[in-house]
Amino acid sequence: MNKPGNPLVVENLHLQYGDNPILKGVSMTLEPGEVVALLGASGSGKTTLLRSVAGLEQPSRGRIAIGDAVLFDSAAGIDVPVEKRNLGLVFQSYALWPHRTVFENVAYGLRLRNVAAGEVGDRVTQALTNLGLGALADRLPHQLSGGQQQRVAIARALVYNPPVVLMDEPLSNLDAKLREEARAWLRELIVRLGLSALVVTHDQTEAMAMSDKILLLNFGQIEQQGTPEDMYNRPHTQFTAEFMGSNNRLPGTVTEIAADRALLEGDGFRLWGKPRGKIAVGDRATGIIRLERMRTARDPGENRIPAELVTAMFMGDRSEHLFKLGSLRLRGYGTDTHAAGAGFLELPPDDLWVFATPA
C-alpha cells in the first residue's frame, strides 16, 4: 500500500496508559533514505513511539502517515491494523520464531504476500547473502549466535522491501565488543541498501554513529532534534547538552552579560562562558563543558581556575584526571605528565555553555 520514496510523517502524537501520559504531542519526519535515531532515557517514550508507528500501540491522538497512505489518524478514525502497514520491525529480543528455520523465518513475510514459491527462494537467498547468512538457511534460531540471530531478524524485516524499517535497540542484546563491530556493519548495510530506518536507542554514541538525524525524547516530548553534529555541538537545552556527552557541571550565578558572553560565578570560580537560551544577570545557572574541551595549564590566565589533581585513571587510549576545586570535582582528559605538573584548569569560553536554571 505504501511505496518507497515517501516520507514518514508523525504529527502531534499523544498516547497514555490509563492516566499516565507516555507521549505528549510528538511530531517528526523521516525522509526516504534517511536514518533517524530515537534517543532517550528509559521511560522517555522512544520505544512507545516506535511501536505506535508499527501499530502495536494505540495512540489517543495524532496522525501517522507515509506519503499519501495514512496509517493512523485519530481525527479521521483511521487505525490501519499492524499487518496492513507493510513496515519492517527488528525487535530488541529479535523475536525469531523458534519453530521455524532461518529460511522459513525470513520467507514468512513473502509467503503472506502470496509471492510465488520460486521467487520466495530467490529473494530469501538474496537477503540472507546480503546479510552474510548464506550458509545458515536450514538452521533453527537456537543454533545461532546472538550476532547471527540479529542478522536473521534484520533479514526478516527487510525481505519484503518495506518503505521504513523500525529497529528497537537493535544492538543492545550483543556483547560490548561485538556491539561496536555490529554498529559499523549495520550503518554500512543501511547505506548500501539505501534504507529508511527509525532506530530506538538509549546510547548517544550509537545514535550519533548510526543516524543522519537524532530525535532526543524527554518524558514524552521532543527535547531537540537535529544532525548528530548539531546535537553534540549546539545543544539548545541543558538536558540535551548533558545527555549527548560526558560533561563537567559548574553550578553558579550569572553576574555579568557582555556580547555573546556570560560571566558565571560560583564556589571558587569566576568564568566567562557562552550563554545558551534566554539568560539574565542574577539568574541561577549551570555551566556545562565537555570533558575533552578541558585544558590543563601551569600558570594562571584568562578563564583559568586553580585546581588540585586528585587522581588519574588510565583508560588505554587516554587518561582521565579528577581535579578538586573546593567542593567541586572536575574531570578532564590528557596525558599524566601534563596533568601532574598543572596547577590550573582552562575552560575555553566558547566551550563552556551557560544554561539558566529553570525557576
Binding site: 501499530g55 502495536l56 491494523p81 499492524v82 519492517g88 525487535f91 530488541q92 523475536a95 503472506l112
Partner: protein, 559 residues
C-alpha cells in the same frame, strides 16, 4: 497488543463459557430459595429449606466435622509438605528423582479409591489390621474415627503443600541464601531466616488451599466416616437425598449454598494470596545451580521418614486394593492362598453397566480430555493478550467453578439437564458427564493452557503481525505451533484428572452415563466390595498408564 474491536469468535467463546459456568450455579441458588423441588408445581419462594437444615443437628455436626478435618489437614500437611520440599530441593537426600515422582501419586489416585484402600488394608478386618493382630494381639488403630479421617486426609494432601513450596524454593535464587551463608548463618539458620520467610506466601497459599480442599472432601469421609456415622458437609448433602423419602432438591440446594458460602471466600483469598506472592518473585535472585546441603548421617533418618510417609499414603492403600481385588473374601482365620481368584474381574466384565463404566471412563479421559483441552485452549486464547473487559470477565468466571465442589456441580448439571427443555435427551448420554467434568476442572485446565501461553514472548506474535500476518494467521502460524507441546501435556494431565474424578458423576449416574468413579460410590453404597476392589484396581491401572506416558514424554506433572 492493543485491544481493538472484540471479534466474533472471541465473544462467542466468552458467552458460551459464561453460560456453562453461571447456569448451574444460578440454578442452585434459585432452587435453594424454593420450598420444594423446582419440578414440583406447588413450589413457592421462601427460606423454608434454610430453616429446615439450620434446625437439623446433623447439619451442625457435619459443619463442625468439616472444620475439624480441614483444620487438621492443614496442620498435618503444612509442616510435612514444607519439610519434604526442603529435603527434595535443597539437600542431598538419596533417590530424589524417584521420590519426586512418587510424591505425586496421591494427587492422581481417586480419593474414593484411596479411602477404599484404607478400609480393606487397615479397617477392622483389613489385611494389615489382621496381620497386626496376629503379632500384637489387637488392632492398634481405628481408621473410622474422626481423628483418623483427619490424619489420613492430612497425609494424603502433603503433595499439595509440597508442590507449592518446592516451586517457591526452586524459584528462590540461591544467591540470597549464599549471601546469608557468607554473612555467617549456618544451614539451619539459612532455612529458618531466609528460605522459610521468603517462601511464606507460597506456604500460606498452600495452607488455605488444603483447608479449602478439606472442606470439599467427599470420598474419604463417605467411606471412612460411614461406620461410625461421622458426617461432613458433602456427605451430609449426599445423605439428604433420601432423608425425606422424596427427592429433597431444595434442601440439597440450601446445603450447597452454605458450602459455596465458605468455599468462594476461600477461593478469593487464594487468588489474593497468589497475587501478593508475586511481589516476592520480583526480588528473587539469579537461579544458579547451587550446592546441595549435605545431610550426612541424617540423610538416612530423613529417608526413613519419607519412606514411612510413602508407605502409609501409597503402599498400604494400593496394596490393600490389589490384594482385595484378587481374593474371594477376607476376614479372620482366612488364609490368603486359599481365596485367591480372578472371579471379581469376571464379575465386572459380566455386568454390562460396569463394562460401560470402564469404556466410558477411558473415552472420557481420551476423547473427552482432548475435547476439554480444545475448549480450554479456545477460552485461554480468547483471553490471550487481552487486558480489557474480556480478560477480567474470564478471570472471574473461572473462579466460580473452583468454589463449587464436584458433587454439587454434578447435581447442578443434573438439574440443568432436567430443567432446560431440549437438553433432556442429552442427560442420558456421556456428554452430560463430560460437560460437568469440563466445567468442574475449568480452572485447572485454564491454568495449564495459560502456563503454555506464558512461554510465548509477546514479540513472537507482534513480529508476525508486523511482517504482515492478520491475527488469525498469527494464531495458526505462530501461537498454536508454539503451544503444541503444552497442549499435548495438558491433554495427558486432563486425562489423569478425568480418570480420577468420581464425585461429579455421582448424581449424573444412569444408564449410559456410567463412569468408574461414580460407579464406585454407588457400588460401595450397595456393599459390593468385590467389584469395588476390581474396579478400583482398573482405575488405578488407567491412571498409572497416563502417568507412565506423561513421565516418558517428560511432562511436568504440575504447573
Amino acid at each position: 497488543m492493543t485491544s481493538r474491536a472484540l471479534s466474533l469468535p472471541r465473544s462467542t467463546v466468552v458467552a458460551l463459557t459464561a453460560v456453562a459456568v453461571l447456569a448451574p450455579v444460578l440454578l442452585i441458588f434459585w432452587q435453594s430459595f424454593l420450598n420444594a423441588p423446582f419440578f414440583n408445581p406447588a413450589h413457592k419462594f421462601g427460606l423454608a429449606s434454610y430453616a429446615f437444615i439450620f434446625d437439623d443437628p446433623d447439619f451442625w455436626s457435619a459443619l463442625f466435622n468439616s472444620v475439624v478435618i480441614a483444620t487438621g489437614m492443614a496442620v498435618i500437611a503444612l509442616p510435612l509438605g514444607a519439610a519434604l520440599a526442603f529435603l527434595l530441593t535443597r539437600t542431598d537426600l538419596p533417590w530424589q528423582r524417584t521420590i519426586e515422582v512418587l510424591v505425586l501419586v496421591p494427587v492422581f489416585v481417586s480419593p474414593m479409591v484411596l479411602a477404599f484402600g484404607y478400609v480393606v488394608a487397615m479397617g477392622p478386618v483389613g489385611f494389615y489390621s489382621l496381620w497386626a493382630k496376629d503379632i500384637v494381639g489387637d488392632v492398634p488403630w481405628n481408621v473410622y474415627s474422626l481423628f483418623s479421617i483427619a490424619v489420613i486426609a492430612g497425609l494424603t494432601h502433603v503433595p499439595h503443600v509440597y508442590l507449592y513450596s518446592s516451586a517457591a524454593l526452586k524459584s528462590l535464587g540461591s544467591d540470597v541464601e549464599e549471601a546469608a551463608r557468607v554473612a555467617g548463618a549456618n544451614p539451619l539458620q539459612v532455612a529458618l531466616n531466609v528460605s522459610l520467610p521468603m517462601t511464606m506466601p507460597a506456604l500460606l497459599y498452600a495452607a488455605v488451599l488444603v483447608f479449602f480442599l478439606g472442606f470439599e472432601l467427599f470420598g474419604l469421609p463417605l467411606v471412612l466416616g460411614d461406620p461410625e456415622g461421622h458426617l461432613v458437609l458433602a456427605t451430609y448433602l449426599y445423605k439428604l437425598t433420601n432423608k425425606l423419602g422424596t427427592p429433597s432438591y431444595h434442601l440439597m440446594a440450601a446445603v450447597a449454598v452454605c458450602i459455596i458460602a465458605v468455599t468462594f471466600p476461600l477461593v478469593l483469598l487464594q487468588r489474593w494470596l497468589l497475587k501478593t506472592a508475586g511481589k516476592y518473585v520480583s526480588v528473587k535472585g539469579k537461579a544458579t545451580r547451587q550446592k546441595m546441603l549435605p545431610l550426612g548421617g541424617w540423610k538416612w533418618v530423613a529417608l526413613l521418614v519419607v519412606a514411612l510417609w510413602l508407605a502409609f499414603t501409597i503402599v498400604v492403600p494400593i496394596s490393600g486394593i490389589a490384594l482385595r481385588a484378587f481374593v474371594e473374601q477376607w476376614g479372620e482365620g482366612i488364609k490368603l492362598a486359599d481365596v485367591l481368584t480372578l472371579e471379581n474381574f469376571r464379575q465386572v466384565f459380566d455386568q454390562s453397566d460396569q463394562v460401560r463404566a470402564v469404556v466410558n471412563t477411558f473415552l472420557i479421559g481420551t476423547l473427552g480430555g482432548a475435547l476439554a483441552v480444545g475448549c480450554y485452549a479456545a477460552i485461554g486464547l480468547a483471553g490471550h493478550r487481552q487486558h480489557g473487559a474480556v480478560a477480567r470477565i474470564l478471570d472471574y468466571l473461572v473462579l466460580i467453578p473452583r468454589a463449587v465442589p464436584g458433587l454439587l456441580a454434578g447435581l447442578a448439571f443434573l438439574w440443568l439437564f432436567l430443567f432446560v427443555p431440549g437438553l433432556k435427551e442429552l442427560r442420558n448420554t456421556i456428554f452430560s458427564v463430560w460437560l460437568a467434568y469440563s466445567v468442574v476442572w475449568l480452572a485447572y485446565g485454564l491454568r495449564l493452557i495459560s502456563g503454555a501461553l506464558l512461554q510465548i514472548a509477546p514479540e513472537l506474535e507482534e513480529s508476525a503481525r508486523t511482517v504482515g500476518a492478520a491475527p488469525s494467521r498469527v494464531l495458526k502460524d505462530v501461537t498454536l505451533p508454539l503451544i503444541r507441546f503444552g497442549l499435548l501435556a495438558s491433554w495427558l494431565l486432563v486425562f489423569m484428572i478425568f480418570e480420577r474424578e468420581y464425585s461429579t458423576g455421582v448424581y449424573l449416574l444412569g444408564q449410559g452415563t456410567e463412569v468408574i468413579g461414580s460407579m464406585l460410590v454407588s457400588l460401595w453404597g450397595a456393599g459390593a466390595i468385590d467389584q469395588v476392589a476390581a474396579l478400583s484396581l482398573i482405575n488405578i491401572g488407567l491412571v498409572a498408564a497416563g502417568l507412565a506416558v506423561a513421565l516418558r514424554f517428560g511432562v511436568r506433572l504440575h504447573e
